[in-house]
């Protein structure tokens, strides 16, 4: 039998929403106070969901401590207590909206997932990034039966790239 397990993680980081391709006036109009020049911070929450077969002996679908180490190494250690615009190369050009943060985190986890958990291990189904109590985003990664070319992740990347133009 299968089940899906979700772990929630926390990191605090600062960001500024500013699209380099747009004028200062356009940035101020689109992003409002999120465009204030010196940036601001949030306590982000990250939920990571994996689905897999529940081992009949241990009752576990994955090793939670392994997941914690993996997420910590790939994401938390890079994002926690950082200025996302200035400290993370992915966001030199990409606006660090929560949508884009979710896409970058999702891609980072998805890229390393297979090596970490193996072909027979639990699958990464999706993530959720919460920026404030009122503001959260889901990213479905799952696509158990699909190849990466078809996954929501790449579709999302494509649509974001289009938006930036």
């Amino acid at each position: 039998m299968k089940a899906a397990l979700t772990r929630r993680y926390h990191f605090s980081a600062s960001h500024r929403l500013h699209a380099p391709a747009l004028s200062n006036d356009e940035n101020a109009r689109i992003f409002g106070k999120c465009n204030n020049p010196y940036g601001h911070g949030h306590n982000y929450e990250l939920e990571v969901t994996a689905r897999g077969t529940v081992d009949p002996e241990t009752g576990l679908l994955l090793d939670v401590r392994q997941l914690d180490r993996f997420v910590s190494e790939k994401v938390l250690s890079r994002f926690a207590n950082r200025n996302i615009n200035m400290d993370l190369p992915e966001f030199r050009q990409l606006v660090p909206t929560t949508e884009n943060i979710a896409i970058v985190i999702g891609k980072t986890l998805d890229d390393g997932w297979g090596d970490e958990f193996g072909a027979a291990g639990a699958k990464l189904m999706g993530i959720h990034v919460q920026e404030t109590d009122r503001n959260g985003f889901d990213l479905a990664i799952g696509a158990q039966d699909h190849h990466h070319e078809d996954s929501v992740l790449n579709t999302s990347f494509a649509s974001v790239t289009d938006l930036d133009k």
Partner: protein, 140 residues
């Protein structure tokens, strides 16, 4: 249409495979294998699916759903040591995964006797750790 009802129970458990020695259990479960157990405030979110009744406008009688959760889950599990007092956890480690699967099994038939059907069981072990079980988890 989906509708979700929440319930809580507090219970203790220890995650151990009975036939394994202490070191092997500690290797897999860490502190959750501590011999005398520990407890959680478990929260369940039970989602049922159905169409609203054309007369009452209800997917399910929520009082009926509340009573099923109380009778099937909360009464047998609340303030119990799951390994010693609640089957099948004398034989099966009461991980969040197994507790969620057991809750699904206990709820499926009683809920199918209402006008709705069980869609998902979500079990929170802590605010940062939860498990979802849906019908398709039994198909694959």
């Amino acid at each position: 249409m989906f509708i979700t009802r929440k319930a809580e129970f507090s219970a203790s458990h220890v995650c151990r495979v009975p036939s394994w020695n202490d070191a092997a259990n500690r290797e897999v479960y860490g502190d959750a294998a501590n011999e005398h157990g520990h407890g959680h405030n478990y929260i369940i979110e039970v989602t049922v699916a159905g169409d609203p009744d054309p007369v009452t406008g209800m997917v399910v009688d929520l009082k009926q759903l509340k009573d099923i959760l109380e009778r099937e889950i909360v009464q047998p599990m609340d303030h119990r040591f799951l390994n010693y007092e609640v089957e099948p956890f004398d034989r099966v480690p009461p991980t969040a995964e197994n507790i969620a699967l057991e809750i699904w099994s206990r709820l499926r038939n009683p809920i199918s006797s209402t006008q709705a059907r069980l869609h998902r069981v979500r079990l929170y072990e802590t605010v940062d750790h939860f498990v979802d079980v849906t019908g398709e988890d039994f198909d694959t």
